[in-house]
């Protein structure tokens, strides 16, 4: 179906199902209940899940397949965001041209950086990409202030010379990004008993792009091109003595992943029309590396899982504060309650990085193939009982 093998098509269907039903799945706890704070089904977070999912899927095409570890991919995301906001300022509040331009800008930008950085491999490549990204950040933060808005970031204003569409709405406000009149921020709320589900336009737009991005990534993984990329990771000597030039292959992978990052950046700006230099910073580049490795580099679904997990931690774990902890453990005797809270406190709230770090370490040490490998191990436990000959790890973990 759609040019995919049965197994891959099933995976695509699962992703379609999960993204379309996410507002329901991510809100398992009734509104107002104690557990409601673990609900992730609100538009802002769901948008982040899919946008960073797209970012990580693209990154995985470069890192997962070729093994080239870029430490500067946030630069392309940032460039895409700036491009999109400029389209909102100058052309129209329609998100499609904004997203298109962000992909194009990120593609050109990654062509330039990739062409130079790919002259080296291994750690030197990583350092080159990091250097370029930090240079871009510094430029966006200071020198290019007229284009990027510098410290304050690039925002819409009331006097933007928009060619198609008004500078202000009738009520004197800045117009909001929309898809042919369908505002990105508009939501449909569904109340079922004590459950509240929010279906947000922006989320569904981003989800459609995620599905498309995921589908393209499957096609690339299964194509001769994808096979060549894995061959590059495996043995570059044999690659060149087989008559294949590794450079254009790696450059193509780099540009494709840069365009994915640009798409993510464009979507980010479409959800909230502003762009700041901090999106290009090295911590943002590092985050996508973590997402990909945590989920499983070189696997299809891994990066999406990794992105979801990190964003969940960042937004949900960080919200748990001391008061909430005390209310959880209030059944314990006073002294013990304080002790337990004091022990757990460093790992939640502002300490969520610590928990994430521990999870990351555990995954890298025990599951080098990421969460996907964990899933495979669990699946193998169940299937082994049925049949004895289980394929041992059909997909080899990537480093």
């Amino acid at each position: 179906m759609l040019g995919l093998e049965k197994k891959d098509f099933r995976l695509l269907l699962i992703v379609i199902g999960l993204t379309m039903l996410a507002p329901l799945i991510l809100n398992p706890f009734p509104e107002g209940s104690e557990m409601a704070q673990f609900n992730a089904g609100y538009p802002d977070l769901m948008q982040r899940f899919v946008i960073f999912g797209i970012f990580a899927i693209g990154f995985n095409i470069l890192f997962g397949l070729t093994g080239y570890l870029s430490f500067g991919h946030a630069a392309f995301l940032g460039a895409g965001s700036y491009g999109a906001v400029w389209m909102f300022k100058l052309l129209s509040m329609n998100v499609l041209p904004a997203i298109a331009i962000s992909v194009i800008i990120a593609g050109l930008f990654s062509l330039l950086i990739g062409y130079i950085s790919l002259r080296r491999s291994g750690i030197y490549f990583s350092i080159l990409t990091l250097a370029f990204a930090q240079m871009s950040f510094a430029l966006a933060y200071s020198v290019l202030t007229p284009i990027t808005g510098g410290e304050t970031g690039l925002q819409l204003a009331l006097d933007d010379p928009r060619i198609f569409g008004a500078s202000q709405t009738a009520t004197g406000n800045i117009p909001v990004p929309a898809l042919f009149g369908l505002e990105m921020r508009s939501s449909f709320e569904l109340e079922l008993g004590s459950w509240l589900f929010t279906f947000n336009t922006g989320y569904y737009l981003a989800a459609v792009f995620l599905i498309f991005a995921f589908y393209m990534s499957i096609r690339i993984f299964r194509s001769p091109f994808g096979m060549m990329l894995r061959a590059i990771k495996s043995n570059q000597t044999r690659m060149s003595y087989t008559g294949l030039n590794a450079r254009p292959y790696t450059l193509a992978a780099f540009v494709i992943s840069g365009m994915y990052a640009g798409l993510a950046g464009g979507l980010m700006a479409s959800m909230d029309p502003l762009a700041g230099a901090e999106r290009m910073q090295w911590t943002a580049s590092g985050e996508v590396v973590l997402m990909t490795i945590l989920g499983g580099a070189g696997t299809l679904i891994g990066p999406v899982l990794g992105a979801g997990m990190i964003k969940y931690f960042e937004n949900i774990f960080s919200k748990i504060n001391e008061t909430i902890l005390h209310s959880w453990f209030s059944f314990l005797p006073d002294g013990l309650e304080d002790f337990v809270v004091a022990m757990i406190y460093p790992f939640i709230g502002k300490g969520w990085h610590l928990t994430l770090g521990i999870v990351f370490m555990l995954v890298v040490i025990f599951l080098p193939g990421g969460l996907v490998q964990g899933g495979q191990k669990i699946a193998a436990l169940f299937t082994r009982k049925k049949s004895e000959d289980v394929k041992p790890n059909a997909t080899e973990p990537a480093e």
Binding site: M227, R230, K233, R238, S240, Y241, T242
Partner: protein, 252 residues
């Protein structure tokens, strides 16, 4: 005019003259062995032929074109394939993928952006890959990840990857190095078969005299970066200069 014509090649590494005025002519449809004691410059010569090293002076003509200054992948596309001392294969990929890659390289050249079509829809490539795998008796192992193959199988796979490109010249760098007796015999037989059935010109660098004398039709003896003699195996066996070169090494 041979298929490969090497004329007046010099290569220095600092103070060491690795190759001094080397001339070599490999005729089409022969098996040509290059032998010599350690440090004779055999590997340096091979690296010059495949574009990994650029000589200080001299010329290397293959099939009427110069190979000097070309990159390894360009030289491969001209029709020179190389088998390494330790098999260089794609060890994270399956056996089948390993032989499909050279099929693509042969058909599409050094780069083609075929990122959307599926590997499985390439029926022609698959048939080619299956045919070569059955030629080297590895068809039943095609779904194995190659890092789990035995050393002998890795060697056969690498050979298959070179053969499927139908090269004009096959370079073999000590193809039996570190092999057990039985594996060595197998490799000799495999090479003989290739030679007879496909008529591919071969150049072999080898230490094992048994291998050399059972395969080669011409032999060039290198010593200290210079060609000592070039002759048929029968004449090489009793050649005084060759004995001197090898005995000289033994005394050191």
């Amino acid at each position: 005019m041979g298929l490969l014509e090497v004329k007046g090649i010099n290569k220095r590494f600092g103070g060491l003259q690795a190759l001094g005025d080397v001339n070599l002519s490999i005729q089409e449809n022969t098996t040509h062995a290059i032998i010599g004691p350690n440090g004779a410059g055999k590997s340096t010569l091979l690296n010059v032929l495949v574009g990994k090293l650029i000589p200080d002076s001299g010329s290397v003509m293959f099939d009427g074109q110069s190979v000097l200054g070309r990159k390894p992948h360009e030289i491969n596309q001209m029709g020179i394939s190389r088998v390494f001392q330790t098999p260089e294969i794609f060890s994270d990929l399956t056996v089948f993928e390993n032989v499909m890659i050279p099929c693509f390289a042969k058909r599409d050249g050094s780069f083609r952006m075929h990122a959307i079509e599926s590997v499985f829809s390439e029926k022609g490539i698959q048939e080619q890959a299956e045919a070569i795998l059955s030629d080297v008796n590895m068809l039943e192992k095609r779904h194995m990840i190659t890092s789990s193959l035995s050393r002998g199988d890795k060697r056969r796979l690498e050979m298959a990857m070179c053969l499927v490109q139908d090269p004009k010249l096959l370079l073999l760098d000590e193809p039996t190095a570190g092999m057990a007796r039985a594996d060595t015999e197998n490799t000799i037989n495999l090479l003989k078969e290739i030679r007879e059935q496909r008529g591919i010109t071969m150049a072999i660098i080898e230490h094992d005299m048994n291998v050399v004398f059972s395969l080669a039709e011409r032999i060039t003896v290198l010593a200290q970066g210079m060609p000592l003699v070039e002759d048929t195996p029968d004449n090489i066996k009793g050649h005084p200069k060759v004995r001197e070169a090898y005995l000289g090494e033994a005394q050191v």
